[in-house]
């Protein structure tokens, strides 16, 4: 409840939600909201400029761009959530184990993190996707598997500071198991910053998917994603500006929305910054 009150007072988070909530509705009710079938070609009406029946115009196969952008939001939101979900689960588990047990375990996990961080992530993803079938599920998994390192470092640092607090000692003295102590006592107190980083990460994941789709190894046509809409648009960019503009705006707004929400959350969840005027 306190969280909601603070959320209502935070302008950054509100702006973020103002963008994201309609975006969610769009994704969920894509079928109702899109005026045309997004994959049905209409060869009589290709590359038509925005008009009343096609507000965002049509593409080189005569498909309605608005409908394709609306359906593309499903891909983007799904990619954002699933890949960041995967990254968060891996990051939190490895970070928690590393921070709580320390010693050799910590050293091994953290060197693994260093190793993963040394790879230029985008090229790693490119290389992996090149060998796999380019499907949306593969993309989400690969993005998830290559973006958990920051979260695990963050969680480790939080846990290092919490594990010596007296309430954790008390739990150990009660004879609780290590798993119970980690999941019931330490993690709930360590997760606030993780929500912030994960929220910001969703924006990053959406951008990565768009970039992959733009390069042609992401979501495959005829399924619409904002990235492959842009990729198809580039061939006709001189004569049909509407093909690139609207998917571009959609990506921009969504990523912006997550970044604003993430910034806002970091204010709300950090008690030291909570009372600063905004």
């Amino acid at each position: 409840m306190e969280f909601l009150t603070n959320l209502r007072k935070n302008r950054l988070a509100l702006w973020g939600l103002l963008i994201l909530v309609p975006m969610f509705f769009t994704a969920v009710f894509a079928q109702l909201l899109s005026p045309h079938n997004p994959v049905e070609p209409n060869m009589k009406n290709v590359l038509a400029a925005p008009s009343f029946s096609h507000p965002f115009g049509t593409d080189m196969l005569g498909r309605d761009v608005l409908s394709r952008v609306v359906y593309g939001s499903r891909v983007s939101l799904l990619v954002g959530f699933v890949s960041v979900g995967i990254a968060t689960i891996i990051g939190v588990l490895l970070g928690a184990v590393s921070g709580y047990y320390g010693g050799v375990v910590d050293a091994i996990i953290m060197r693994f993190v260093d190793l993963m961080m040394c790879f230029p992530t985008f090229f790693l993803i490119l290389a992996v996707i090149a060998f796999l079938e380019p499907s949306i599920w593969n993309i989400m998994i690969v993005i998830g598997l290559t973006s958990w390192m920051g979260i695990s470092r963050l969680v480790r640092a939080e846990i290092l500071s919490i594990k010596n607090k007296e309430f954790v000692l008390a739990a150990r003295a009660e004879g609780l198991s290590n798993a119970r102590i980690i999941f019931s006592h330490i993690l709930p107190n360590a997760l606030s910053p993780v929500w912030v980083v994960a929220t910001l990460g969703i924006g990053g994941a959406i951008l990565t998917e768009s970039a992959l789709s733009f390069l042609g190894i992401g979501v495959q046509p005829p399924t619409a994603s904002w990235g492959n809409l842009l990729a198809q648009a580039k061939d006709n960019i001189e004569i049909a500006w509407w093909l690139s503009l609207y998917p571009g705006i959609a990506i921009f707004l969504t990523v912006m929305g997550y970044n604003l929400l993430g910034e806002g959350l970091s204010d709300i969840l950090d008690p030291r910054r909570r009372y600063q005027a905004r």
Binding site: E166, L169, A170, A173, G175, N189
Partner: protein
């Protein structure tokens, strides 16, 4: 009445580097050859300035920290070496209370959960009704009402929080309670209430207690026996009244205020002494002589009142 807890030659050393870059590691002897016995339903007070190893001793006994050497016998078992399964069954017999009630209660849990967790760990089950009724019982023990069950720690005062910590430690009806500076972080008026609560609870529930404090008056008030520690070693131990009536050791006299600190240098950094032979108290002792610098004093004395000082040789 039998011996509940017996500690013998317990040692706990830390290796530290003076600065991040120093290659040489130095050893801090946090607990250095401590031995004592604690009878059922008795209270042993441990006194000493900060850094004297009181808390480390408590943590070694409660198995929160490994001991490097020595033995602890608890309820007849070799406590430091029992298989972890057996230790788990003995855990509920040992309660522990920490100094700071602001950090010893998980800020995200309600009082009901905080108090019933040790019970849950013991029973291995979570029958809600039973746990709740036991939690209410534990709250009543410490003078708080049922309406505290659903509160969060930040909704309570320091004294109330410490009562919750006590209720948690006693919820399994342990035979042995470790209280590590339980009143040091409380207001003076609240201190008295909590001390009275301890006395009252001890009478009703009859448990043995290890009561750690740097405040001699409190220790004197609550303890049957007292142990004075300095730099990880026992300086003097014996029945509480004897120690306060006729303190043998110069350090005890200094703590009781019988003797002014005089021109003796006050506390020096812990590290300065490491590796030097002789009495650990040498540099601050007003009665030192040249033997004190070379010879290590042993605990000796008539009956149960003993001191580790060369000046006091019976």
């Amino acid at each position: 009445m039998g011996t509940l807890l017996s500690v013998s030659e317990l040692e706990r050393f830390y290796e530290i580097r003076r600065t991040v870059f120093s290659l040489k590691k130095e050893t801090v002897r946090a607990v250095d050859g401590v031995s004592f016995d604690l009878e059922d339903a008795q209270t042993l007070g441990i006194v000493g300035e900060s850094g004297s190893g009181k808390s480390t001793l408590a943590r070694c006994i409660s198995f929160l920290e490994p001991a490097d050497r020595g033995d602890v016998t608890f309820m007849g078992r070799d406590w430091l070496r029992v298989p972890s399964k057996e230790r788990k069954t003995l855990r509920p017999q040992m309660g522990i209370i920490f100094q700071d009630p602001y950090s010893s209660l998980n800020p995200r849990k309600r009082v009901a959960r905080i108090i019933s967790e040790p019970l849950e760990a013991r029973e291995g089950s979570s029958q809600r009704e039973l746990l709740r009724s036991k939690a209410i019982e534990a709250l009543e023990d410490v003078g708080l009402g049922e309406d505290f069950l659903d509160k969060y720690p930040h909704e309570m005062s320091g004294g109330q929080r410490q009562r919750i910590a006590i209720a948690r430690a006693l919820s399994t009806r342990p035979r042995f309670l470790i209280a590590d500076e339980p009143v040091s972080s409380l207001d003076v008026s609240v201190q008295a209430q909590i001390i009275n609560l301890f006395l009252d609870l001890k009478e009703r529930l009859s448990f043995a207690m290890l009561f750690i404090s740097h405040d001699l008056n409190i220790v004197r008030f609550i303890s049957d026996h007292v142990m004075v520690m300095y730099r990880g070693k026992i300086m003097e131990m014996g029945p509480a009244e004897d120690i306060f009536q006729t303190p043998f050791h110069p350090y005890t006299r200094m703590l009781t205020g019988r003797e002014s600190n005089g021109d003796a240098p006050s506390a020096e950094p812990v590290l300065e002494h490491q590796g030097r032979p002789g009495c650990v108290f040498f540099s601050r002792c007003p009665e030192r002589n040249k033997h004190c610098q070379t010879e290590v004093p042993r605990l000796s004395g008539p009956g149960s009142h003993r001191a580790a000082c060369l000046q006091y040789a019976p």
